[in-house]
Symmetry: C2
Subunit: 281 residues, 2 copies
């Protein structure tokens, strides 16, 4: 297991953590100033921007992109909507390639509007991912399936466990030729008693590692995540397993916190982020 | 699969659904008036009461107890607290026996206060259950392990999936001599893509079947459950699997709804309950 304490070059900041206050340039500069090794930006921050300028700025700061967030949902009531989602995700892969992103992060979608058919949701997601895989290989950016917490199954992600994500990898990319992989987010997966066995199974399928903490009590199903150390997740123990499986990438902090951290200013959030990753991850 | 439509004798009302407004006698009478086949009372409603009187009243109304709710948490920082929990649960088994309850419902507890050690929580629960099994057999009331939704893992239940519950059954009661089993609650388990395979595996370990619905959006992690039909769970499809596995017991409605149903009066809640089980379960 790596010693990451005091080594911000091994950290990445998911820009959602900062509450979308500042443009990407200011985020990159603030992160670079602290020696942070990477960011994970969101597509909304890149829309209409000169992506090559952003890529150049990152390169000049010796920073990488641990992942581009995130996919348009694959589940939808009509075929036309699902085709559009795949098209948007194909274009996002191009953007990810321009940024030399380490992976393209997938939040796959919940039940197609109005439906109770979970199996159909699974089918739609796998169909969409399968359609994207050749383009992912062509542009050199692997797709990372991110299992989200089961409490998001209805409206955000019918993909809810690492076992499920790895089963889908085996099904859609049996020989690994497409480099289809997974994102391991401690917030979504910490509760799973079979996490350790699935992390062993995952091996080099692990493309990203996200940290934050589960607060007690949690007051919102989406935007009440805690900074590492403020909750109950044994983050370091999970990182040990992730690295034992072969992961060597950045430790990415991703926090949604409408009522706490998003109300702080960016400098403070970044200072605390670096300190908390160093001490608790 | 049974046709339960319009057959309230096959329904049970978990008294939590009614918001703890009336004493058990009034609940039993109101349920009996509607031809409801059973209730699942809570220990708090029986404390200091003459349980045999309650049992007699139920018998006179031709009603049964689909389960007694629920265990004192098994997880705690000190051995003394854990011993006390087992003692309390032993006494609760006696109460369950007086009521001829179909099972004693287990909500097992989350992380022991202040700890991040999920494996230790699992160990503590299994240790406590193992200590109770002989008494469960002696009084003739089987213990039902209820996996709760993963969003409760920190503070209510480190037991989060049917697979985990069945693994624990196999470990603690390999030959079924203690009749250790599980409670299948659609609210807690609907998201699990492996639910169907685990229900097949469960067979006659299924001791209880609970219904309610997952609302979108869900605004509280505990007390924002919906009436069947108001959410996204395909309850009937799950019941088909539960009954294919061999379950023949009552369909129990259990809703926690601080901001909606608990504000209604008992008669209305019961009328809607019967209608919704009939139409949507």
């Amino acid at each position: 297991m790596r010693d990451i304490s005091g080594k911000p070059a091994l950290y990445s900041i998911n820009t959602a953590t900062l509450g979308y206050q500042a443009p990407l340039e200011a985020i990159i500069d603030d992160c670079a100033q602290r020696g942070i090794g990477g960011i994970a930006p969101w597509r909304r921050e890149l829309d209409g921007r000169n992506v090559q300028d952003i890529a150049r700025r990152l390169k000049n700061c010796h920073m990488s992109v641990s992942g581009l967030c995130r996919s348009t949902y694959y589940t939808a009531p009509t075929l036309a909507e699902r085709r559009q989602a795949v098209d948007e995700n194909r274009r996002a892969l191009d953007t990810a390639a321009e940024l030399s992103a380490n992976c393209y992060m997938q939040v796959v979608g919940g039940l197609p509007g109005g439906s109770k058919n979970l199996a159909e949701a699974h089918r739609q997601v796998k169909e969409g991912i399968a359609q994207l895989l050749p383009h992912s290989r062509d542009v050199g950016v692997p797709i990372a399936l991110e299992p989200l917490h089961p409490m998001t199954a209805a409206d955000r992600s019918c993909l809810c466990s690492l076992r499920q994500a790895l089963d889908w990898c085996d099904e859609l990319d049996p020989d690994g030729g497409f480099r289809l992989g997974v994102a391991v987010d401690v917030y979504h997966l910490w509760w799973d008693p079979y996490l350790a066995e699935q992390l062993k199974r995952a091996g080099n399928r692990i493309l990203a590692f996200h940290v934050s903490d589960w607060l007690v009590p949690t007051t919102d199903l989406v935007s009440d995540r805690g900074m590492p150390g403020d909750g109950v997740i044994d983050i370091r123990a999970i990182r040990a397993q992730v690295e034992a499986a072969g992961f060597k990438g950045l430790v990415e902090l991703e926090i949604f916190s409408a009522n706490n951290w998003w109300k702080q200013n960016q400098s403070l959030i970044l200072d605390v982020s670096v300190e908390r990753i160093s001490e608790h991850c």
